[in-house]
């Protein structure tokens, strides 16, 4: 098959496959006629009614706020702790056992504890919970990114008398940034999950809360609509991050492409 025909077919497939899946979904739900699986069309109608825009401020905004705050705190802490740990062997020896332990802990196991410890089921507990677990991917990736910087670069900087702070600012941080972004991506999707978990577990507002309520009141269409919304939110947030990454790390793609040759 020649190049042009192949490309045309690929584009056709890219469009056809998702459309076919959606059509199949609709068809199956119509056929199954099961209240647990409402028709796709019904879900979409619910989606529009619910989220655009009546309930938006009531639930979506608090959820986004929590994600934003939690993620933001995790980013700042993760990088601020990760850089010195990446640079200091002793720091790592002391800190890593603690980090590894908390990293392996399944977050839901800490949900009840976080409520007890922080004496709240309000925003404070939620943001803290989200921030705590979003911290680890960023922290670990920052450490790896810092350690992975070519020693030749650091030697060169030292030989030109560039002091530690400047070295960190001009070499360590930019050099570790690709790896840090990998951590950011993981962390962001984690933030969405944590948000849902903590709201579902104990909250009076937010998308997770809507999930819980619609389950309790057996309203399936809104529940499905909430699930779709969560998926869309996750997708959009991820997309935003990718766009930022693409701009900031344009040099990285070119460099890797050159190295591979």
């Amino acid at each position: 098959m020649n190049r042009k025909a192949y490309n045309a077919a690929a584009v056709a497939a890219e469009i056809a496959v998702p459309v076919a899946l959606l059509v199949a979904w609709q068809a199956w739900t119509v056929h199954a006629n099961d209240p647990r699986f409402p028709r796709l069309s019904t879900i979409l109608v619910q989606f529009r009614e619910l989220w655009l825009f009546s309930e938006f401020n009531l639930h979506v905004v608090p959820s986004l706020e929590r994600i934003g705050l939690g993620f933001g705190i995790a980013v700042v802490l993760g990088i601020a702790l990760g850089v010195p740990l990446g640079l200091s062997r002793w720091g790592r020896i002391i800190a890593m056992p603690h980090v590894e332990w908390w990293r392996a802990m399944p977050p839901p196991a800490l949900l009840p504890i976080s409520i007890v410890l922080l004496h709240s089921i309000g925003n404070r507990q939620k943001v803290a919970f989200i921030a705590f677990f979003c911290l680890f991917p960023i922290l670990l990736n920052t450490i790896d990114g810092v350690r992975g910087i070519d020693p030749a670069l650091l030697d060169t900087a030292r030989s030109y008398g560039i002091r530690r702070f400047e070295r960190i600012r001009r070499i360590v941080l930019p050099g570790a940034l690709p790896q840090i972004f990998a951590g950011l991506r993981t962390s962001l999707s984690l933030a969405v999950i944590m948000m849902v978990l903590t709201e579902y577990f104990s909250s009076s507002s937010g998308v997770g809360y809507v999930l819980l309520i619609s389950k309790n009141t057996l309203q399936l269409a809104p529940m499905w609509a909430a699930i779709v919304l969560i998926g869309v939110l996750g997708y959009l947030l991820n997309l935003a991050l990718i766009l930022v990454e693409r701009r900031v790390l344009a040099w990285h793609r070119g460099w890797r492409a050159a190295v591979v040759q």
């Binding site: 030989s159 030109y160 008398g161 560039i162 990285h252």
Partner: protein, 278 residues
């Protein structure tokens, strides 16, 4: 800078050992030689004789286990402001996220200079190595030889009085290497720098230098310091056709080859053997 009567750079009984006890690695045992102002000195030796370690000690990146490096009579304890170092792995010493201009700019940032002055230095240095056209490119968009020229330009913009180069042309092809060798000679003339140049290429060492320091096998000492009397300006074809050139390179080759034939097995044997040879 006040004039100093003695040697510009003196390497006095420098040794470097890693580890301790029976498992210690003596990278360098006892190396002594001096470099005068505006001299071009090459350092050659068999593989693994610690040439890079020596250069790092001279450059203040490593602390010698014994002996001293003296710059104008003062001991070198950290990278001195007058020295610039050019490594072999050009690709790894350039920041991939910065343009050529910003890479060359890096060492100048903390020097007390105005923005205009810095720009001028960067442009002058890149012009000297012939890369003005690529000033806003990224290093990975350039070939290996060009990247190495960027590293040299960066060292030049820094305006050092001493340039330390660690096998800088080992990773480029032969023709590029010839161009780069001539570039370094021109740079020495134009910028009046002193150059200490480590290489394993014997032809290169004779072609470029005023003197060649030949090192022994590990544990490393200075085997001989050869004077290179060849006329300047050097030329890749004419100079290499001179009988003096052939004789010198043969002599140095033999010195190094002898090192390979009698590998030292441990410090005791080596010291004993050396004792006999003296």
């Amino acid at each position: 800078m006040s004039a100093y009567a003695g040697h510009l750079l003196e390497i006095r009984n420098v040794g470097k050992t890693y580890g301790s006890g029976p498992k210690a690695t003596h990278a360098i045992d006892d190396v002594s030689f001096a470099v005068e102002d505006r001299e071009f000195v090459c350092v050659v030796g068999p593989s693994g004789c610690g040439k890079t370690t020596l250069l790092k000690c001279v450059g203040g990146l490593l602390r010698p286990s014994k002996g001293q490096v003296l710059l104008r009579g003062k001991p070198v304890t950290s990278p001195p402001e007058e020295m610039a170092l050019v490594f072999q792995e050009y690709g790894r010493s350039l920041m991939p996220w910065a343009s050529v201009r910003n890479n060359v700019l890096l060492p100048l940032r903390h020097k007390a200079l105005g923005r205009k002055e810095r720009r001028a230095l960067v442009e002058e240095a890149l012009d000297a190595v012939g890369l003005t056209r690529f000033i806003d490119h990224y290093p990975w968009q350039l070939s290996g030889g060009m990247q190495q020229r960027v590293a040299i330009a960066r060292a030049l913009a820094y305006q050092p009085s001493i340039l330390l180069m660690d096998e800088p042309f080992a990773s480029v092809d032969a023709q590029t290497r010839a161009d780069l060798e001539d570039l370094v000679l021109r740079v020495r003339e134009e910028f009046a720098v002193t150059i200490l140049f480590v290489t394993h290429d014997i032809d290169e060492s004779v072609y470029l230098s005023d003197r060649v320091v030949v090192l022994t096998q590990a544990p490393t000492e200075v085997k001989e310091i050869a004077e290179v009397d060849l006329p300047f300006p050097r030329d890749q074809i004419a100079t290499k056709e001179l009988p003096d050139f052939t004789q010198l390179r043969g002599h140095i080759y033999r010195l190094i080859r002898r090192e390979h034939v009698e590998p030292a097995e441990d410090l005791a044997t080596a010291t004993a053997t050396k004792g006999e040879q003296e």
